[in-house]
């Protein structure tokens, strides 16, 4: 029996964002954009979705009169990511059999 893959994480860009945030304390929007090669528009939408489900925390500030968005993963996000990786493992193991 397959474990169901979390539909929020099972998406190319959202998974990339969460995987990136899992290894750092916090990252600015520009850093995430650079590492994921995403467009600003698409990234904003996906970050909002991750924020809505409580997987990441988004802080908006101003730095030298420019808006600055900083993201960090939440405890709920870490748990969801771990669960997702485990489910992924069971898929891949099943594929090998």
């Amino acid at each position: 029996m397959f474990k169901e893959l979390d539909p929020i994480l099972h998406s190319q860009l959202r998974l990339a964002v969460v995987s990136l945030l899992i290894g750092v304390k916090e990252a600015e929007f520009t850093f995430i954009k650079e590492k994921t090669n995403a467009t600003a528009g698409n990234l904003s939408v996906q970050i909002q979705k991750l924020k809505d489900v409580g997987y990441i925390e988004v802080e908006k500030q101003f730095k030298d009169n420019y808006p600055l968005t900083t993201c960090s993963i939440t405890k709920k996000g870490v748990e969801a990511f771990e669960k997702y990786v485990k489910a992924l493992q069971s898929y891949l193991d099943a594929g090998k059999k």
Binding site: G23, E26, A27
Partner: protein
């Protein structure tokens, strides 16, 4: 539109992203070089002034460290604005050096009150070794580990050295612990971020 991804692709995304964030360190070579050169100039300057009896209060040269502290604060504030990511390793290393700074201050106060300045330099050398060695371990950067070990060896050597020449050991310690690793770190950072 969102693309459908396979389990294999998911795994590749996770691996790729984790690799992009791992081993990412801020370029802190500037601080090693700043402190390396400041302490080097102060200790060698202090030695020369005592040896050739140039000034009545040669120890005043150490006031340069306060200038370095102010410069460092300005530099860190500016640098903090430029950083787009904060990693846990950077944070650990920062706090390691903050606790080193606080410990150095306390040691100076304690030894200053007890009038036991003769033991100050070996203790300073020992103190230099700890954050340098640990930074090397955290960053997996061997020159810093070697530098830390050199400081500890020089701390032992300093207890058997006439106090005037201990100043030269201090200069040697910062060359091995901060100046050489500082330049190597600069090269490494440039290479990693091409």
């Amino acid at each position: 539109m969102e693309k459908e991804i396979s389990a294999q692709q998911s795994l590749e995304i996770i691996e790729g992203m984790i690799n992009k964030a791992k081993n990412k360190f801020s370029d802190n070579s500037f601080l090693y070089l700043l402190w390396g050169w400041v302490i080097f100039i102060c200790s060698v300057g202090h030695f020369i002034m005592i040896k050739f009896s140039l000034f009545n209060n040669p120890e005043y040269i150490w006031a340069a460290t306060w200038v370095a502290v102010i410069y460092q604060i300005i530099y860190l504030v500016k640098q903090g604005k430029k950083e787009t990511v904060k990693t846990y390793t950077d944070e650990v290393i920062n706090y390691l050096w903050v606790s080193f700074g606080i410990s150095m201050f306390i040691i100076t106060v304690i030894l200053g009150r007890g009038n036991t300045w003769i033991t100050l330099y070996p203790i300073i050398l020992m103190m230099y070794g700890t954050p340098t060695f640990l930074s090397g371990v955290i960053m997996r950067f061997t020159p810093l580990k070697v530098g830390g070990i050199c400081c500890w060896c020089l701390a032992i050597a300093a207890t058997f050295t006439p106090s005037l020449y201990v100043l030269l050991l201090l200069a040697l310690a910062v060359v091995t612990a901060w100046i050489i690793p500082g330049y190597l770190l600069k090269v490494k950072y440039k290479k990693d971020n091409v």
